[in-house]
């Protein structure tokens, strides 16, 4: 069997995330449409959208600075960096896999989101700025939840390298049913719903400007820059799903050797698992109503509660 070298697998991790992510978005919107009794767009529609946008001309608002055009590129570069740090395809750490822990990945993602918000602030468009300021406000209150989830991981594994947690979870059923693990996973899932802009936080495909958070920020971008932002938000979604699946919920199906077969199987397994998460997210999308803006704190406080309880049970030796 063909054995791949480590840098090739590393590149495959990034490529899987980047090239599969619009497809995952397409599958989710298809499933969502089917649940609502619509036919829905083609699964490959996001790829066509991106191809169309890349061919279009791009315009910048009159008084915007260089950051406006730089931000989409920088944000996309961040989304290319994070898949090197988390276990996308392999159970073992790849050469660059240990250069950052979960917090490091979180900082890079936060930097990407900050760049997009800063670019939105450059535009002078009220809706883009509204979205940017909301995203930062609610980002600030979800931050403690993320930190507590990381602390839980650190208490469970005595490190916060994502590879070690994945190995811990697969080591036996006792690790799976411990309340700290379940609570931290649930809290992370709620954060993911927030970060990917899903119900109950916001309507993903909505065009109602006043309810927008995440989708309002790229309002003024156009052409290839808009394409990069859209692609970036799909990539971010798949990164979060991968983090949730391959570190917390289901780190099975990953390649433990460098052979071609297991690595290809890991790609297929990741996509299949991401689609399962997508189905769950679509069900949530279709069963819950969007929260009013000022009730988002209730959603976040519920996630915070889960993460705090995870830490408590660990300290009492019961987690």
């Amino acid at each position: 069997m063909l054995t791949l070298s480590l840098p090739v697998i590393q590149a495959l991790q990034v490529a899987t995330i980047v090239f599969a992510s619009p497809g995952i978005t397409g599958v989710i919107s298809r499933i969502e449409a089917r649940m609502q009794g619509r036919r829905g767009p083609r699964i490959l529609q996001p790829y066509y959208d991106l191809a169309k946008l890349f061919r279009k001309e791009s315009l910048a608002p009159l008084h915007s600075g260089p950051l406006f055009l730089l931000a989409p590129v920088l944000a996309f570069a961040c989304y290319l960096t994070v898949p090197m740090l988390i276990p996308v395809l392999t159970t073992y750490a790849l050469p660059l896999g240990n250069m950052g822990d979960i917090l490091g990945g979180g900082i890079i993602l936060a930097f990407a989101s900050f760049m997009v918000a800063a670019a939105a602030a450059e535009t002078g468009d009220p809706y883009a700025q509204l979205g940017a300021s909301r995203a930062k406000t609610f980002g600030a209150i979800t931050e403690p939840v993320v930190l507590l989830v990381v602390f839980t991981v650190a208490l469970v594994t005595s490190t916060d390298l994502p590879y070690v947690l994945a190995a811990t979870v697969t080591s036996g059923p006792a690790q799976l049913v411990r309340p700290a693990h379940l609570l931290a996973s649930a809290a992370l899932f709620m954060v993911i719903l927030y970060e990917t802009g899903r119900i109950p936080i916001e309507t993903h495909t909505g065009t109602i400007e006043l309810g927008m958070i995440e989708t309002a920020r790229p309002f003024e971008h156009s052409g290839p820059y808009y394409a990069l932002l859209k692609w970036g938000s799909s990539a971010k979604q798949l990164i979060f799903y991968t983090l949730f699946l391959n570190v917390f919920a289901a780190p099975w199906g990953l390649a433990s050797t460098r052979d071609l077969g297991p690595v290809l199987f890991a790609i297929v397994a990741l996509i299949a698992k991401a689609i399962v998460v997508g189905v769950v997210v679509s069900v949530i999308d279709n069963t819950f109503a969007k929260l009013r803006l000022f009730r988002i704190t209730e959603f976040v406080s519920a996630a915070f509660l889960l993460a705090v309880l995870a830490i408590f049970t660990l300290y009492l030796g019961g987690g």
Partner: protein, 228 residues
């Protein structure tokens, strides 16, 4: 990587993990009651919590081989998850009032306060170092947290439904604690507690009925207007 795993805190056994998870679910449902905005939802949350407590009794019965706990599990399931909710709902069926927004604080601040109170309960009980043969000590701390959060619920929600449900769910916390400390408690005592609860339900049901008939609302804020 193996070395790192060896340093890590050992996981509890599958039995302990399952029992703790069920106990955590009981506590989470108690927190859910803080934000319930329909009385039907409040009663359903209580029913779900009672199911979780019965499941915990069942888990102990299977995992530790205490067969009389099966009887307790079935009895408490029947009484607390079926009869009590039915009695409550039948008392309230023709009432049009709702309990939305009866909290004296916002939901997020109520949750933060309850987290603090629950933390106090957790660590106060954890410091006692009580060890039980049938259930992990964390379940005892969790049941203390359930009791304290139900106090917070009764104090902060200003409607009679939440206060009554808070009282009933306090009993859930206590019966969870009794599972940890004295799983072999004579069955007759446990059953006596259950029927005590039934009396409380009937009394509370009648009181709620009178209150909602007189004031056309479940709110206790309206009560001091009745003077004179």
């Amino acid at each position: 990587m193996i070395d790192i795993l060896a340093v890590a805190r050992p996981a509890p056994t599958v039995f302990d993990g399952t029992a703790n998870t069920v106990a955590v679910i009981v506590l989470l449902l108690e927190f859910g009651m803080l934000r319930a905005s329909l009385f039907g939802a409040q009663v359903r949350l209580y029913a779900a919590q009672s199911v979780a407590v019965s499941v915990l009794a069942g888990v102990v019965a299977v995992g530790r081989g205490v067969p009389e706990l099966f009887i307790l599990a079935v009895l408490s399931l029947l009484l607390k998850a079926v009869i009590v909710p039915l009695v409550m709902m039948s008392q309230l069926r023709d009432s049009r009032a709702e309990i939305a927004g009866s909290g004296s604080l916002g939901v997020a601040s109520e949750v933060i306060i309850s987290i603090l109170v629950a933390a106090f309960g957790f660590f106060a009980i954890g410091a006692l170092g009580i060890h039980s043969e049938v259930l992990p000590a964390a379940a005892l701390s969790l049941s203390m947290a359930v009791v304290l959060v139900s106090f917070v619920l009764m104090i902060l929600r200003r409607d009679v439904i939440s206060q009554a449900i808070g009282f009933f769910s306090l009993e859930n916390g206590v019966s969870m604690a009794s599972l940890v400390i004295a799983a072999g408690l004579p069955l007759i005592l446990e059953v006596a507690f259950l029927f005590d609860l039934l009396v409380a339900v009937v009394v509370f049901g009648v009181l709620i009925r009178v209150q909602s008939d007189r004031t056309k609302s479940f709110s206790t804020v309206a009560l001091d207007r009745l003077r004179g």
